[in-house]
Symmetry: C2
């Protein structure tokens, strides 16, 4: 069970977009160059973000993407679910029902006990992702790690918008 690499790309792209001046857009081409990813494929991830309403796009020259909401109102979970979908990681196919010793007309009293444990773990994962916003990420990048690279990236982006 692995998240697709588009999730990683989408997260990094959103981190960049969170630092954009108000009202400016950054093109897919620049995002792809910045991260060394194939432009056309990265575009799929950005389209998913757009479909989920996390980013807004504009056509034409000086077009591209920007965040559709303040960075504080976009969580990691929003981005992961936009790319991966909202389905639970554990699918219960109710194999209980296949039991040869199941009494005739037996009616299940509720969701499979095993599924409930798995779903609770899934929820713990989602809760953790929902607790971190893009604004917090920007703050971490500013303060904690790689301030030089992050600042240089900011200047590089500023030239393009």
């Amino acid at each position: 069970m692995q998240l697709k690499n588009q999730v990683e790309w989408a997260l990094h792209c959103c981190a960049i977009l969170a630092g954009l001046p108000d009202g400016r857009y950054l093109a897919t081409k620049d995002l792809a160059e910045l991260h060394g990813t194939p432009k056309e494929y990265l575009s799929k991830a950005l389209q998913a973000l757009s479909a989920a309403g996390l980013v807004a796009s504009t056509l034409g020259p000086s077009g591209g993407y920007r965040l559709a909401r303040p960075a504080a109102e976009i969580s990691f979970l929003d981005i992961v679910e936009a790319v991966e979908g909202r389905q639970r990681t554990f699918i219960c196919t109710e194999i209980r029902a296949n039991s040869p010793c199941r009494p005739a007309g037996f009616c299940d009293t509720g969701p499979c006990t095993i599924a409930r444990v798995m779903w609770a773990a899934d929820q713990a994962w989602r809760d953790h992702l929902a607790a971190t916003s893009l604004a917090q990420l920007s703050h971490m990048l500013d303060a904690e790690l790689d301030p030089d690279l992050w600042a240089a990236t900011g200047r590089w982006v500023a030239q393009r918008v």
Copy 2:
């Protein structure tokens, strides 16, 4: 991102094996019949459990599988990791390093900030799975849900070992 259905099968099989009399084995054929799964493919999941040391097998007639440890010492995480592998769900490919504005000879100060958030969520998921043991699951099945089906299943299994 979805867990494979072998994970579901493995969990249900372990729940059955946890109720087995000491020293007795249950054959793949019976486990497959009980859950309505293809025997040969289910066998792959059981082999994975065996490779991880969670279950023990014996050949020959009256052979099959049993738990290799007390049910209280086998967690959901053990089973999930046996089938799915121990890799983290989020793979960081360090796309930071592809940045065209990365200073020459720049040395990363540590793991990617985004990866650290994703890994922390991953850990929350694993912690939750590690907190539930097969013994607890047996207790839940006994007490909370479907006691009729669970008891009937116990009798069905008892005839086979």
